[in-house]
């Protein structure tokens, strides 16, 4: 069951190509996480977070997890940034 079984189904990508894809997306995700943390201005950070959510979604895609991809897209890239922006809109007034 385990090991490197090359499968040719409509969805599968050749293993070496998949490796490269995964490494690239993983690097992007690591950089994204760093960027989210280092962005200290809240509104801008929410934008970066949204982008990070998108990258995570892509990562889950290449990890063959379409279910998680879809929920990461809806939650991580859309719903959470929306909640954060609403909260910030509420708070921002006194910050200025």
């Amino acid at each position: 069951m385990t090991g490197t079984v090359a499968v040719t189904t409509p969805y599968s990508v050749p293993v070496p190509l998949m490796d490269v894809l995964q490494v690239v997306v993983l690097v992007l995700v690591a950089a994204g996480a760093t960027a989210v943390v280092l962005t200290r201005r809240p509104v801008r950070q929410v934008m970066v977070l949204s982008g990070y959510g998108l990258m995570l979604a892509v990562l889950f895609m290449v990890f063959q997890a379409p279910d998680v991809t879809l929920s990461e897209l809806t939650v991580g890239a859309v719903a959470l940034p929306l909640l954060l922006l609403l909260a910030l809109a509420k708070i921002r007034k006194k910050e200025e």
């Binding site: 279910d67 879809l70 929920s71 809806t74 719903a79 929306l82 909640l83 007034k93």
Partner: protein, 253 residues
């Protein structure tokens, strides 16, 4: 601790934590070499046992359905918590709306945004229901569907129709719908107990064709209730957060 001390303490201890964590991670079989058996067994038996072709949904709503009961109630409690916490603020806001209103006057939504948002509302509703209804076949389910469905309501708000948003999702009704969603799931599980079977046993007809819309028995039903619960919870949470800006916008009109 001062910020500087804290940073140094963290950098030292955090390095220790990461080294320790990596020590554990190197004990894993290595990426791409998942050893099983849990996932492999489920992949083998799930389609036959549940007639659902989407194995992840079969796990979420059947094999590990009890986890999902807890998960739904986490969302339920979070929505109730947000309401509890912001409830007082809402009351205060109504009193002090005028003095804060001036700098909160959001620029009026442009017609293009409004039209676009309204245009997207319909597809969002349809897509939400589609996703919630196809847990057993597609990489989707009540959770994703619910969030998309909630997005439809939020689009109505974005289109500037906040009064409509209030009308289509009044808090009391949304709360009731949410509770029905969460409770409905628990009830589906309970039906098996009345038949003398363990809780959450799939006691509906499984259908014959794997992947068909009427296949997989309670999986589809549970997915529906999860969709209802998730959508209502999100609408409730977003509504509570919106509530405070809504009044002010009205004032400035």
């Amino acid at each position: 601790m001062t910020p500087a001390t804290r940073r140094w303490v963290f950098l030292i201890a955090g390095a220790g934590l990461v080294a320790f964590y990596l020590w554990g991670l190197t004990g894993l079989p290595g990426f791409g070499a998942y050893p099983g058996p849990y996932g492999f067994i489920i992949n083998q038996v799930a389609v036959g046992q549940t007639k659902a072709t989407a194995v992840v949904s079969a796990i979420n709503f059947e094999y590990r359905g009890f986890d999902t009961v807890g998960e739904e109630f986490i969302l339920f409690v979070a929505a109730a918590g947000v309401s509890t916490v912001l409830r007082h603020l809402r009351g205060e806001r109504e009193r002090s709306a005028l003095d804060e209103a001036r700098d909160r006057a959001a620029p009026p939504t442009s017609d293009a945004v409004r039209t676009l948002a309204l245009v997207f509302t319909g597809p969002a509703v349809i897509m939400g229901w589609y996703l919630a209804a196809h847990a057993q076949t597609a990489p989707s389910g009540g959770f994703q569907g619910g969030v998309v469905l909630a997005t439809a309501f939020i689009l109505i708000y974005l289109s500037g129709q906040f009064l409509l948003f209030k009308r289509v999702s009044p808090v009391a009704v949304t709360e009731t719908v949410e509770a029905v969603g969460a409770g409905g799931f628990a009830c589906v599980g309970l039906s098996a107990v009345f038949l003398g079977l363990p809780y959450l046993t799939n006691d509906l007809g499984l259908g014959t064709t794997p992947g068909a819309i009427d296949s997989s028995g309670t999986i589809a039903l549970i997915s529906f209730f999860v969709g209802v619960e998730v959508a209502a919870a999100f609408v409730l949470i977003v509504g509570e957060l919106l509530e405070q800006t809504l009044l002010i916008r009205q004032e400035t009109r």
